[in-house]
Subunit: 245 residues, 2 copies
């Protein structure tokens, strides 16, 4: 059944407007009487029926509401140095499938991709659409947040206050990510910080250790591409947290 | 430094022919005196110097040999139902980065992609090239084996004899992959069996349980695409085995 993001919830009904409306009407061609599912990032999911299709909105009546146990209990964030090409899209899509709570694109020292001002805002909007679509396909009820493209200092402000940070660093040879998971508080959020191609500069790691209390961790003895490292780290964190199986 | 796969190892030297030679000469344009690294899937790595470039081969003198600790200790195999598009290529590339020992493409009941005869052989060759390239980029010294496209019965014959099999199945709701890892023998190979889009048929899972002694495992409460499931399962197996960090 098709899924839609609800922004206007009323008593017994909700309206879909803008892109959600257009997608329903023009692409999926749903008609009055047909059923669909809606979510609003609260954790709830609504079974609803299309009642009325107007020029600017679709009205749906609510048939049932439930709270599916589909979201990860562990709030896992991915901080990732801007990387080129489609890698960010790929990471957003698969990170959403895996169950991440949010992704924070970081202007890392060695990021080849530079995004500023309007271009950064446009790219962030595109990434948010990818996140919503991926959430729908994964049948999640809370879409992951995609933060604005940020510098290190902004990352600190954007992460939830008690976030336990792990920074993947090739210079770290002994501290294993899974071993660190055993020492963390299981109810507080975890953020994995992944560098761009070329990795992090020593000064960045030192700053993260100092200001984010980040623990450098190793992802093993093989060279991982940035996107592989991002997904591997998320998988290990969510897997250890009991959320991937 | 560039890496090459060695097939002709002699006393104090080796020859590179065919595609390895052509890549060295025409693409990378290495010249006598330049250094390179070679591997032959034995676990060893050779530091060598180009001595002589001929029409059909390049002769390299060996400067040093070592056994880098770069390969995973746990032999992790991925059995994956044939999937469409570029997904197999991604999985081979990223599975190689993660450290898998081999990949076995499976003709699953619900595989939309059908590969037979000559087409299957050609595709397998292409996948093997991708595996070699990914091994080089990851600085691995043993390239993962890519099996011929196989039916279930052939999978049984192709996997090492003591392989402990785990089959990812949406019908399994309680047995978690990481929990199962605790019960496995850490020195024997592990294979994760991942279905195509559409998953496995009940009869396939039953056969795998019966004939491969496969344990059905859950990869969590969210829908994962085949390629995401494959990489997540490999990551959890290799991560638990201590090979990813």
């Amino acid at each position: 059944m098709h899924r839609f993001r609800i922004t206007e919830l009323n008593e017994g009904a909700f309206q879909l407007r803008g892109q959600e409306r257009d997608h329903l009407v023009r692409v999926l061609r749903l008609r009055p009487g047909q059923e669909l599912l809606g979510f609003d990032n609260s954790g709830r999911e609504w079974l609803a029926r299309v009642e009325k299709i107007d020029e600017d909105c679709v009205t749906c009546s609510i048939l049932a509401v439930r709270e599916p146990q589909v979201e990860a209990r562990l709030q896992a964030y991915l901080v990732i140095g801007l990387t080129k090409g489609e890698k960010m899209e790929w990471v957003i899509q698969k990170g959403t499938e895996l169950g991440m709570a949010g992704l924070l694109p970081l202007r890392a020292g060695r990021s080849v991709l530079r995004l500023e001002g309007k271009k950064a805002a446009e790219r962030t909007e595109r990434w948010r659409k990818i996140a919503v679509e991926a959430a729908k396909q994964s049948r999640r009820v809370i879409e992951p947040t995609i933060a604005p493209v940020s510098h290190w200092q902004e990352i600190k402000r954007l992460l939830p206050e008690e976030t336990q940070c792990l920074i993947a660093y090739e210079g770290e040879t002994s501290r294993r990510l899974l071993a660190v998971m055993e020492e963390l508080d299981p109810v507080k959020p975890v953020a994995v910080i992944i560098g761009p191609e070329g990795g992090f500069e020593e000064a960045e790691v030192a700053w993260a250790e100092q200001s984010l209390k980040a623990l450098p961790v190793s992802l093993g003895s093989r060279i991982l591409r940035a996107e592989t490292a991002a997904l591997a780290a998320l998988t290990l964190v969510l897997g250890y947290g009991g959320d991937l199986g």
